[in-house]
Amino acid sequence: MALTMTAAMLQASVVFAQQVEPPKSRFEVGIGVLWIGQEPLGAKTANETTGGGGALALFNTSSELSSAAGIAARVGVRLSRSLVAEADASYLKPQLRIAISGDTEGAAALTAAETVQQFTVGGNVLWYLPHVSRSRRVAPFALAGGGYLRQLHDQAILVETGRFYQFGAGATYLLVSGRHFHTKGAGVRADARAVVRAKGVALDGGTRTSPAFGVSAFVRF
């Protein structure tokens, strides 16, 4: 009896493994929440020229793009047993904050702010690492990608464009497997990334790295 049960369980495991291992389905569509951490944008001083050719600071500024959460969506296609290419897009509304201090005439320090709308469109390559996981439902992966960054200042009167690059790792957790209507499975995904934004509202035109976390639900076809 015990032997029979063990054999049955093994058989079930084999079947299940075939269903959850790196996507056997061809397409995956996901939507979720993306959080990107604060991006320091550098400091700038309002300098006036002295008679000797030096500088006198009228005031100092320090700028950042605040952390923000928004929505993200993606469409992926399986390229091979362990490789998936995906296109993704996101929308967030961080704040551009400029802290003012050290006024030469003693004005109170203040942080001026405005809301920026940030859109990204890009692509990633995911490399699934099934042998890393102990669970048949969990499929860890590493990702790398990049794309186009579009940031609109308050009231959309000025558009700033740039690029972003990202790399990180995450995992999918398959909640439903097997064929249901037209789908081949559904689950959730979580990942952590380092996002490098170049240009855009970056006041010095430089590139800076921020942490990012994403959680999403997906359906496979």
Partner: protein, 334 residues
């Protein structure tokens, strides 16, 4: 002469009001009840060089230095104004003869005036007919490349006066401190058009700043100026009352450049043009770093300087070829 010297513009006092148009300070004249910006209708603007000389500055030195100063304004890529030397003359500046003359004159009675620009204006159009610049020979002058201790740099002062010659008024982008014996010492300036000169020996004012460039470009815009730059406008109030004569500075948080303007009407409104598109900080300060009548005709308007330096609490975005939208700044009394 140990006192700091004011670069007084005769026209600013005589013609009075500034134009309520964009930014900085442009000279304006009332014509048929309407304020008209003072500018040259045609370029190149022809000028004559006086043969009068002073110790340490030969006629050739003078001509070369003045040409360099004119060329500095001409080199502004977003402005179209050009100048042309029409020859030398024995005539003195200040004669209303239709010719624009630059030269030395000894005016020891003007003991704080290094140089002065005067205008002859077409009373029907506001167009400039003549503009003369005299450099006060009562002071020591230098044309040395590195400047000379105790002498005023002719190129720096000429650059300032040619700004007036072209139609620009004074800028308030500078800091001064009162001297025990009266007058002010300039600590810093970020505009050649600041009304008070650096101390003798300084050559720091040979380079145009963002404020000067915005001003001359606004007066004589070249092709892309209107489409590549933007403006920032709004109003300043104190206790609910519009404030006249407040100095408003737009600081570009990306470039670090500053361009100043003033509230120029009884509604306390201001508009600063020629700004690089992008995020700006707005700082409002009282007009207390030079005599108020260096900027405005105080017989016609009362300038309120009793308020604290104030920053607008939002980042103001200047679009390309457009305006920021109205920025309402409230200041409080000191």
């Amino acid at each position: 002469m140990k006192q700091p010297l004011a670069l007084v513009v005769a026209a600013a006092l005589v013609l009075g009001q500034s134009s309520p148009a964009l930014a900085y300070l442009k000279f304006g004249v009332p014509i048929q009840g309407k304020q008209v910006t003072l500018k040259w209708a045609q370029t190149p603007v022809h000028y004559l060089i006086s043969t009068a000389v002073v110790p340490g500055v030969t006629s050739t030195d003078f001509q070369t230095t003045i040409a360099t100063a004119f060329a500095t304004w001409e080199a502004v890529p977003t402005a179209s104004i050009t100048y042309q030397l029409a020859g030398v003359t024995t005539a003195s500046p200040g004669q209303d003869d239709g010719s624009s003359v630059l030269g030395f004159q000894s005016r020891p009675d003007l003991d704080r005036v290094l140089a002065q620009t005067s205008f002859l204006v077409d009373a029907s159009t506001g167009a400039l007919i003549e503009s003369d610049i005299f450099f006060n020979a009562a002071f020591p002058w230098s044309v040395a490349a590195a400047g000379e201790t105790g002498k005023y740099d002719l190129q720096s002062i000429a650059l300032h006066e040619i700004g007036h010659f072209s139609g620009l008024g004074h800028s308030e982008l500078g800091e001064t401190e009162l001297q025990p014996g009266g007058g002010r010492r300039v600590l810093s300036a970020e505009a050649v058009m600041f009304p008070i000169a650096f101390s003798a020996g300084s050559i720091a004012a040979r380079t145009l700043k963002a404020d000067d460039i915005a001003g001359i470009s606004d007066l004589y815009p070249d092709g892309g100026f209107a489409t590549t730059t933007g403006s920032l406008s709004g109003s300043v109030t104190k206790d609910g009352t519009p404030l006249f004569g407040a100095h408003v500075v737009a600081f570009n948080a990306a470039t670090g450049l500053m361009v100043g303007g003033f509230t120029l009407n009884t509604q306390g409104q201001f508009s600063i043009g020629g700004l690089s598109p992008g995020a700006h900080i707005v700082r409002v300060e009282p007009l207390d770093d030079a005599d108020v009548d260096s900027f405005f005709d105080t017989t016609m308007n009362t300038v309120d300087v009793n308020f604290r330096v104030t920053y607008f609490d939002r980042v103001v975005v200047v679009p390309k070829g457009g305006d920021s939208g109205q920025v309402a700044v409230t200041v409080v009394a000191k």
